[in-house]
Amino acid sequence: MADSRVPKEAGFGRSERFVYTIPSGTNGDSVFRLDLLRPYSFVVVRVEDCAGFNNSGSTISALVALDDLPEQVMATLKETNDPSTTWSKSVPLTGAMQFALTHCFGSRYIKFTTSANTDANVNFHIWGYDPLVIDTDNGY
C-alpha cells in the first residue's frame, strides 16, 4: 500500500469489451466459452436489456477456466471461500443491470448459462479488470 496519491495512470486497468450472447430459446449450454485473452482478477458484467431472460424467471451461473496450458476443462464456478455453493443468482426480467463478479478471480475463460431458456437474445457485455502499474519514475 503506497503512502502516496494514486496517479491517473495507475489503478485497475481493464480489457476490451467482450460480448457473450445467449441466443433466444437456449440456455447458453451450447455457446462457446468466452476467451478474455488473458486472466483477470475481476470482471464487470452488463446486460443492457434484461427482457430477453425467461419471463417466468431465471438464474445465471458460470463455468470458468484459468488458462489453456494445457487446455483446462470448464469448471463450475463456486463462491469465494465456499466450494460447497455454486454461484447462481436470480436476474431481473426488465431494464438493465450491471454487476461486478469477483468469484471468478484469475479466470481467462468464462461461460454463462441460465436456468431457463431465454425468450430473446441476451447479450452480456464483459470487461476484465486487473491492477495496472505504470512506472512514472522512469526506471526507478
Binding site: T80, P83, L132
Partner: protein, 141 residues
C-alpha cells in the same frame, strides 16, 4: 481505477499449477504440505472430478507463511474471524468445481483435509497462487 487498458505484463501474476492429491481411503491429513516456493496473496483451487468425494464431506485447510524458521502448520481461520475455523459446506460429489480462497492470504504452505475419506479414487486438487505483478519476468513462459 485507471482510465486505461491493462497491458499484458501487468496485473496479478500466477504461480505454476501445484497438485495436492488425497489418495483414495485417505483424508489428506497425512499428506505433506504443498510448498508454493513463495507466499501468495490469494489461491484458486480446482477439482476437475468431484466423483471421488464422499457424500457430506467438508474441507478445511492448514497454512504457514514461510519457513524462517520452519513454521508449524496452523489451522486456517476465516478472514477477520479468529473464532471461526474455515470449513467448507458439503462438497459436490459429481462434476467440477473451482473457487477462490482468500482466507489463506500470505501463505506459502498449504494443506487440505477432508472430513471423510476419498472413495473410489484420488481426489486431486489443482492449486495456483496469485500475487500482484507489475513486471513480467517470465517473458518466455
Amino acid at each position: 481505477m485507471a482510465n486505461s487498458k491493462v497491458p499484458n505484463f501487468s496485473g496479478y501474476g500466477v504461480s505454476d499449477e501445484m497438485t495436492f492429491t488425497i489418495p483414495t481411503g485417505g483424508t489428506g491429513s497425512t499428506i505433506e504440505r504443498i510448498d508454493f516456493g513463495r507466499p501468495y496473496a490469494f489461491y484458486v483451487i480446482r477439482i476437475e472430478d468431484c466423483s471421488r468425494i464422499a457424500a457430506t464431506t467438508t474441507m478445511r485447510a492448514q497454512g504457514a507463511t514461510n519457513d524462517y524458521p520452519q513454521q508449524a502448520l496452523c489451522d486456517l481461520y476465516e478472514l477477520n474471524s479468529p473464532a471461526t475455523r474455515w470449513v467448507s459446506g458439503n462438497l459436490p460429489t459429481s462434476g467440477t468445481l473451482m473457487f477462490a480462497l482468500t482466507h489463506a492470504f500470505g501463505c506459502r504452505y498449504l494443506k487440505f483435509i477432508l472430513s471423510n475419506a476419498a472413495s473410489g479414487g484420488d481426489v486431486v486438487l489443482k492449486i495456483r497462487g496469485f500475487d500482484p505483478s507489475a513486471i513480467d519476468t517470465a517473458v518466455n513462459q
